[in-house]
Symmetry: C2
Subunit: 423 residues, 2 copies
């Protein structure tokens, strides 16, 4: 079997060129191919235009060992990917009875009527490797040139189908044809900026070539991706672990909230589960975002009781018992109000931990002393209270300010769990 | 001036080929070019590799009147877009004093130190049209071939810079060089599926060629995009309005919640403002998502008072006064509980309208009678109450069930405003 080292991703669909959809398939396929140790040279997107598709395919084939296409496998006359690839390799399409059976059963299962043109989707070159598609009607397939030097894998365009078929069927197919694997692990960091992270672990980042260490930042969070290349998954994983240990031992270590733990909210829900602790929320500027993020984690209902969104002073007083005096004296955006919100929520909802957020999300509002971007996060537990003040730029969007505030609240709750379980 | 009719989008950056970032720039540029009446032939993404960038540029130039590049304009040695384009057109780079001044003042304004290599970013071909970049250090520029037949516009890669420079500087530049404009208007529809919409206005959709009518659907919502091409913006807008009126007069009309109104939550906040009505929320399975979506709309604080996230029976009783008898007899996921949640929230928070949601978001939970995907939405106003039951497939993701539930709640609140203001 010829080893596949390089790839070209060719996406087909006029909706891409109109900007109606963002091409998430190219990013997904690139990530997966990198993990398989296959180097992606180029992405190309063309419309449902036979001539331009043919030219793009021929260019892609001259470029790389493997071409992965997405889209153009539907039942209608303008779906031409399979026909174009077959022509390029000089192959005929024939009815594939097995694929036809799968399409028929898909229609039966979803209670829809199969029309005549769906049969077109079961036409395959005889030498094709057919991947089963349980998520739609377009079968996916791989076709190779007669000398085995070039392979084209054709996948349906809808991301829900493409990603699942790739992980279930295409990845094992490619693993057999690649000579190395890449393993990536993510270190999740909160509470320190990207440049400060880089400065503190500069030596590790610049001297480590395999694994590589690459930083990514997004709305107040930093992620370090450690990627190792080796001949087996185990060996690559072990190489990653070595570098991760170094980073955990560095000055950055105390800002790490997890390894491959997906999100702050998942890390928090996991920690609450681990220690059988319960949480509630009291939100002003975040308007429900903290609770929404916690409840986006399946299984949160054992550890999350609920929360209050208190957008007015009256409701802060009525639902959470924030004193009218505090609101009048210190204002709704103050450390005092944040603390009373957290305390009130914890007492009324009866949880171990409560976290609160109050601030000015903008674009209007705020005062000279407390401009837009000023946010107070409060935490209350049975053993103590804590708060932090954020001073975000008033130039930031409302969405950014709310998101970063919610992330800080989740992080404060996570730190509270750690404190509670130490004491 | 040569008219620009066709374009090729060329994105530069190894992070695209690694799948580290999704290429939103290509979709953004495609949408904007379509609005300008410029047809996009192809998207290409290449890494920071001089040879492959050169080849991709030469191919793009052979293809289309206009090439728009994104990325590769940074200060480091591997940022090569400008150099490669200048070489293709046989142009020299010279220091552009005006650009250097803008870069200097950017560094002063953001309080950062300008390093020597940033000067590279002020090197321009003498014939370049320079677009000001107030959002970063990489100037954007347009360069044309000596015969004026081909133009390359180079934009920085970060979407926050690219989108703003495009709208402020590049769009006017291209408008002068395009012979027609496209105007699109969106009809926002809720409460009816895509295929039902298509069936009801089939004649309008298939007979109308200019404007075109194209449906898009996303998590329970349908959007019809009406797009007209004409020689002026006014003429195109009038053509759109004609078709929109036809659609509003059709059977689909009563499901339309707005024209170009962005989102359900914005339509709701606008309607509440218009009629000086106030809203609160009571959420179980949506966990704060309804409140979060309402409060994502700037200026909502006049009409939104707050809400409760009640994830346990105890909290439903304590915060909203849902009776223990109802919870025991009908269960937390029931029409009765949804109604008591809405009623309790409205009375306790003192608003004109309250909306509630309770259901099973999955993946676990649910019973034989009320499986995952069963959701009850309740609405309470001073003049009456209403509810609806959703039966979403238990195969749907937790995220989908929560999102569609929140959308239905927002829509129920919107209908309540309409009813209240009619009576």
């Amino acid at each position: 079997m010829t080893t596949i080292k390089t790839a070209h991703i060719l996406c087909v669909g006029t909706e891409l060129l109109l900007g109606d959809i963002v091409n998430t398939n190219a990013a997904f396929l690139s990530q997966r191919l990198a993990q398989l140790g296959i180097c992606v040279y180029k992405h190309t997107s063309v419309g449902d235009n036979p001539e331009r598709l043919k030219a793009a395919l021929s260019e892609a084939l001259s470029d790389a060992d493997l071409v992965i296409t997405s889209g153009g496998l539907g039942p209608t006359y303008d779906d031409l990917t399979k026909e174009t690839v077959a022509e390029a390799f000089g192959l005929e399409l024939e009815l594939d009875e097995r694929s036809l059976g799968i399409i028929r059963s898909y229609f039966e299962r979803t209670g829809r009527v199969m029309t005549k043109n769906n049969e077109k989707q079961a036409m395959m070159p005889r030498t094709a490797h057919v991947f089963d598609n349980h998520y739609g009607t377009a079968p996916a397939l791989a076709v190779s040139s007669s000398d085995g030097q070039k392979t084209v894998i054709m996948l349906p365009g809808p991301p829900g189908e493409l990603t699942r078929i790739f992980d279930e069927e295409v990845a094992p197919f490619l693993r057999e044809r690649s000579d190395s694997v890449l393993v990536s692990k993510n270190i999740h960091i909160f509470g320190i900026g990207e440049s400060a992270v880089e400065e503190k672990i500069k030596t590790i980042m610049t001297t480590s070539e395999n694994p590589t260490v690459a930083p990514y930042c997004k709305e107040g969070e930093v992620r370090l991706r450690v990627t190792a290349k080796a001949h087996s998954e185990d060996a690559a994983a072990r190489m990653c672990d070595g570098v991760i240990e170094q980073i955990l031992g560095s000055e950055v270590g105390r800002f790490v909230y997890g390894i491959d733990c997906d999100t702050l909210e998942r890390a928090l829900v996991d920690k609450l589960h681990e220690h059988a602790l319960t949480l509630c929320t009291a939100e002003s500027l975040t308007g429900g975002l903290i609770a929404e993020r916690v409840t986006s984690v399946a299984g949160c209902s054992d550890v999350f009781f609920g929360g209050c969104v208190t957008y007015t002073n009256e409701i802060k007083h009525a639902l959470l018992g924030v004193s009218e005096d505090t609101l009048a004296r210190c204002g709704a955006v103050s450390c005092e109000t944040a603390m009373e919100m957290a305390r009130g929520a914890r007492e009324r909802l009866g949880t171990d931990i409560a976290v609160s957020a109050t601030g000015f999300a903008g674009p209007t509002g705020g005062t000279d002393q407390t401009p837009v971007g000023t946010v107070f996060i409060g935490v209350s537990t049975k053993y103590g209270e804590d708060f932090c003040k954020l001073t975000l730029s008033h130039m930031r969007s409302r969405e950014y300010i709310r998101t970063v505030s919610a992330s800080n609240a989740l992080n404060m709750a996570l730190l509270a769990v750690k404190k509670l379980t130490k004491s």
